[in-house]
């Protein structure tokens, strides 16, 4: 039926799910998946937890792949560097040019790099399996670890490092760890859990300079405090990998704006975007289109995007149903399980409904329209009714 070629830029979870969904929609042309890392799609959350603690190889983290994509061509280890959306080609770092009939943008995000002076060696991000392998070398009993950023990755790394016997300092401008998704009270509760395990927080502060000649040996904070460090992990947010799309007239200020079907707005060719970089509407949570960097979104957006692109390439109108995926995040820190549904970060009121923030608890997040999110700590099995209430929002 169909012929031609679809290029998927990005070999992570979103690219994988989009390719599977494209096949599910009946597309039987050639599919090329291009990835900058040398690995097939693998699960990243363990990189700050069990895989960092040791004993898990990247092969063990690979996602199961549906048989329908056994015939895709993998171009791994050579990132896409540029594109011409009118000519419908992408160019790889190795110089090869791939033509396409349809394009899936799944190039994801990378950790934000702040311009802080000092030596480079001993400073790590935590995004790839290679990053985790580099950090793991340092995490021995007595190691001095400085973590920049108190979001989920920073806090998970802190918990893992403490578990391995390291001494951990966390430096962040925020008032409390994970304050944007969790709010101040629950963030404070999580901070106290970390402090009870020996983590020292330096909140309201930034690192102004890394110390050392060749390899980092410490960090100087903005108030002059010096922290000794054998290794530094920088976890202060992310930026979308969209530079390869420059020069095509698209708005790349914050990922890529897409419609409910994940079709890229204003694209001059059949083009969808998925995962962390897709700035998408969600009928459950009206308001501006948003990028949502939760683990379940690459799967949700990838499934929708594959169906949309499959319809376009077979000459049909893609489905226009509103996108209503439920955002969900979860985190493991020590033995504590943090789980959320919805968008707690957009709330203007936060209510503790059960337990207390220093123990097992359930917290509701509300705005003027009602419940917008729920977070449970060590109460996972009791969150289903809250999730159901959040789904009711789709019915107005």
């Amino acid at each position: 039926m169909t012929s031609g070629q679809v290029v998927v830029v990005g070999a992570g979870l979103g690219g994988l799910r989009a390719a599977e969904s494209l096949r599910g929609a009946g597309y039987d042309g050639h599919i090329v998946i291009v990835g900058d890392e040398p690995h097939r799609p693998y699960n990243r959350p363990p990189l700050s937890k069990e895989a960092l603690a040791g004993g898990v190889s990247v092969e063990q983290l690979e996602f199961r792949r549906k048989a329908s994509i056994d015939d895709v061509e993998w171009r791994l280890g050579s990132p896409v560097v540029s594109s011409d959306l009118t000519a419908q080609t992408v160019t790889l770092a190795d110089g090869s040019v791939l033509p396409f009939d349809g394009l899936v943008v799944a190039s994801g995000i990378r950790p934000r790099a702040l311009p802080i002076p000092g030596p480079e060696k001993g400073r790590y991000f935590l995004r790839t399996a290679q990053d985790a392998a580099g950090v793991r070398e340092y995490l021995v009993p007595g190691a001095r670890v400085v973590i920049m950023g108190a979001g989920f990755i920073g806090c998970e790394v802190a918990a893992t490092a403490v578990g391995l016997g390291a001494t951990v300092h966390v430096v962040a401008l925020d008032e409390e760890p994970m304050i944007r998704p969790l709010g101040r009270e629950l963030g404070a509760g999580m901070r106290r859990r970390h402090e009870a395990k020996g983590v020292t927080f330096h909140l309201g502060h930034t690192i102004s300079e890394f110390l050392g000649e060749d390899h980092v040996v410490g960090a100087r904070l903005d108030d002059g405090t010096v922290l000794n460090a054998d290794v530094v992990i920088e976890a202060v947010g992310s930026v979308a990998n969209t530079e390869w799309l420059e020069g095509n007239g698209l708005d790349l200020s914050d990922g890529l704006l897409v419609d409910d079907g994940m079709r890229v707005i204003d694209a001059p060719c059949p083009m969808v975007a998925v995962g962390d970089l897709a700035r998408h509407p969600n009928a459950l949570f009206p308001g501006p289109a948003r990028r949502i960097e939760h683990w379940n979104m690459p799967t949700e957006t990838g499934k929708r995007a594959g169906a949309t692109l499959g319809a376009i390439l077979s000459g049909q109108e893609p489905a226009t149903a509103p996108f209503t995926a439920m955002p969900s995040f979860w985190s493991d820190q020590y033995k504590h399980k943090v789980q959320s549904f919805g968008m707690p970060g957009i709330a203007n009121r936060i209510t503790l409904v059960d337990g207390d923030v220093d123990g097992p608890c359930i917290v509701e997040y509300l705005d003027d329209t009602g419940l917008v999110g729920v977070v449970g700590i060590d109460r996972t099995s009791e969150l289903a009714p809250y999730r159901a209430r959040l789904l009711e929002r789709a019915r107005g």
């Binding site: 699960n43 683990w295 399980k337 289903a384």
Partner: protein, 64 residues
């Protein structure tokens, strides 16, 4: 039949699978995952969705 196996060493009892196939997976009162090991072929699509959304990628299945 679809034969399901959950690697309980990997499973962290997040219960995401329960929302995809609530007749196959559920969390008990202690928050531990329980599941049916064999289901009919008509449940394949939902079991596959459940495996896809498992944060720990602990769910495997096969058709027999």
């Amino acid at each position: 039949m679809v034969t399901i196996n959950v690697d309980m060493d990997k499973c962290q009892h997040y219960g995401q699978c329960c929302f995809e196939a609530e007749d196959v997976f559920h969390l008990d009162d202690d928050g531990k995952l329980k599941y049916t090991k064999e289901v009919g072929d008509d449940r394949l699509a939902d079991v596959e969705s459940a495996a896809d959304v498992c944060p720990m990628q602990a769910i495997s299945f096969e058709l027999s």
